[in-house]
């Protein structure tokens, strides 16, 4: 196999060593509540597709860069090669944007909450608990949707 290195041009695959699925770039958050499950799945479970597969190759006998190679596991044809650092940077900038978005949204809701508190100062505690319950239900519904969209079940 010949890997078309973004900087060095076509290089023989024997100059590289392979780590595996490129999803290994996305290391789970160790502080998240589901870190146990996330790391089990990250470390041990693989999609292992027959067809296009994004994988991490290390140019060990060359410039020691990490590449993300998109390769067909049925024909060994290499479709695309990119620097892993570019992909990781793009992913982190995306993540930071999402996080920033979350923060502003959180601020907005906080502001709304205080406004609501001011106007509805006379509302009883019972009503408050009722609204809490409905929001809890909404989040639960969201979670189930998320579960449904995740088509593949992880082995426990």
């Amino acid at each position: 196999m010949i890997i078309n290195h973004p900087h060095l041009g076509p290089r023989d695959a024997s100059e590289f060593s392979i780590l595996g699925d490129a999803s290994l770039i996305n290391r789970p958050d160790w502080q998240a509540g589901d870190a146990d499950d996330a790391f089990y799945s990250y470390l041990y479970l693989r999609d292992n597709p027959a067809g296009l597969h994004r994988e991490l190759w290390f140019h060990e006998q060359g410039d020691r860069s990490w590449l993300v190679v998109t390769r067909d596991t049925v024909t060994h044809a290499i479709i695309d090669v990119a620097l892993a650092s570019d992909i990781a940077k793009a992913a982190t900038s995306k993540m930071s944007k999402v996080n920033a978005g979350k923060k502003t949204a959180a601020k907005k809701t906080a502001a709304k909450k205080t406004a609501a508190k001011k106007t509805a100062a006379k509302k009883t505690a019972a009503k408050k608990t009722a609204t809490k319950k409905t929001t809890a239900k909404k989040t639960a519904a969201k979670k189930t949707v998320a579960k449904k969209t995740a088509t593949k079940r992880d082995v426990t």
Partner: protein
């Protein structure tokens, strides 16, 4: 028809006109008690032991292509039980014991030949580790002998003892190990299972699993819906692809392993010999060809062929220990797809889906395991509990941290 010297003479005297087909070619029924997906060595062995040892009836084996078209028909035929770990050694020793009685069990000549295996050692440290391994084997009832260089010289005078980089200091010998005729094993199990009423259905592609409320009730196939009480999947090489249809992600990657054979030569290599410093193993087939192999290519692959760098690496390994083979001409090479598990050991277990059972992750050691794999999978399917020699080959061992990492390489499938 029972095969014996009398059946042979009888057929010879009647012009070989009365040989019957070795197994039937039945149409699938709509329901079976047990359906085995995968008509390779392990699937056929499972069906045979279910019928012969566990008294089960109404069994089918579904095979996408023709039986024995997978790795049982494309391996280097080595049979051994020289493992170290507690969870592995009893299993492989059980397998070797079954190999020893296999031909009588299935009334078929599998050409089982206990010509021995020698693992070469090249340093004092490696000698110590082989002493440990040999002791572990003997503790589990297997045989192991440590050979010093003089003893090895008398057995294998042709090795390169003066190699400056990897001097050969001796070897660990298991005399009961050897080779067997790979496809005869598939045919023998198929015939024996068929005689006990197992339906072997070829060209029957499983396209989906029927799963309702976490219970598997059957399979959709290219020959229609087949319902079953229990479904066992033994499709090593394609496990991830098949189990994805049941919605499972597994601790398995598919990799390609190459094997090589030379032109036929007069007998030169007495048994199986493995290189201790690189990765190279060799034996000589009964036809005379040198059959050898080495590492997997290292990248995920479903193509049954590999690339030349590994070819070169394997041949260099061979030249390092026995330069005499340098003049043998290569006849052919081929590749097979391996289920590389995350710790290099197999899985025989239930799945999170009820009535769906999994036999997978054989890495590149599945052939020697064929009888025990079949027996233990049959035990699991019949009794719903693991066989006593397969209690550690569990699917959840990765989550529990109870890895069976024979090589100590960690969760990196291409290093096992």
């Amino acid at each position: 028809m029972h095969y014996s010297i009398w059946s042979l003479i009888n057929q010879a005297l009647t012009g070989n006109r009365n040989w019957a087909p070795v197994w039937r070619d039945p149409e699938p029924k709509s329901h079976y008690d047990i359906v085995i997906v995968g008509g390779g060595g392990h699937g056929l062995a499972t069906a045979f032991y279910l019928a012969s040892r566990y008294g089960m009836k109404n069994i089918a084996v579904l095979e996408k292509g023709w039986i024995g078209s997978g790795n049982i028909g494309r391996n280097t035929t080595i049979v051994r039980s020289n493992y170290l770990l507690d969870g592995n050694e009893p299993f492989y020793e059980k397998s070797l014991q079954l190999w020893e009685g296999l031909e009588q069990d299935i009334n078929y000549n599998a050409m089982m030949s206990q010509r021995g295996i020698i693992n070469l050692y090249h340093s004092d440290a490696q000698r110590d580790s082989y002493v440990r391994r040999g002791n572990a084997m003997r503790l589990h009832g297997a045989d192991a002998e440590l050979l010093n260089q003089d003893q090895l010289r008398s057995l294998c005078p042709f090795l390169d003892y003066e190699n400056a980089r990897f001097p050969i200091m001796g070897g660990l010998l298991q005399k009961r190990a050897g080779t067997a005729r790979h496809d005869a094993v598939a045919w023998g199990y198929a015939r024996a299972a068929d005689q006990r009423g197992v339906d072997i259905i070829q060209n029957c592609d499983v396209t989906d699993f029927l799963i309702k409320d976490g219970v598997c009730t059957g399979v959709e196939t290219s020959k229609g819906t087949i319902r079953a009480g229990k479904i066992g999947v033994a499709v090593a090489g394609s496990t991830s692809r098949v189990m994805a249809k049941a919605g499972l992600r597994l601790p398995i990657e598919s990799h390609v392993l190459q094997a090589f054979v030379t032109e036929g030569l007069k007998p030169v290599i007495p048994g199986v010999i493995t290189f201790g410093a690189g990765h190279f193993y060799i034996s000589q087939s009964d036809k005379g060809g040198l059959v050898f192999g080495g590492d997997i290519d290292g990248y995920n692959s479903y193509a049954q062929r590999g690339n030349l760098p590994v070819f070169e690496d394997v041949c260099e390994g061979g030249m390092a220990i026995m330069p005499m083979i340098g003049r043998a001409r290569m006849l052919r090479n081929w590749g097979g797809i391996m289920d590389m598990s995350m710790d290099g050991s197999p899985i025989i277990d239930k799945t999170p889906i009820d009535h769906l059972y999994l036999n997978a992750g054989w890495c590149y050691g599945g052939f020697k395991a064929t009888p025990a794999s079949g027996l233990c999978f049959a035990h699991l399917l019949a009794r719903d509990e693991p066989h006593e020699v397969a209690t550690k080959l569990r699917l959840d061992r990765f989550r529990r941290g109870a890895m069976l990492d024979e090589r100590g390489a960690g969760a990196q499938p291409n290093l096992h």
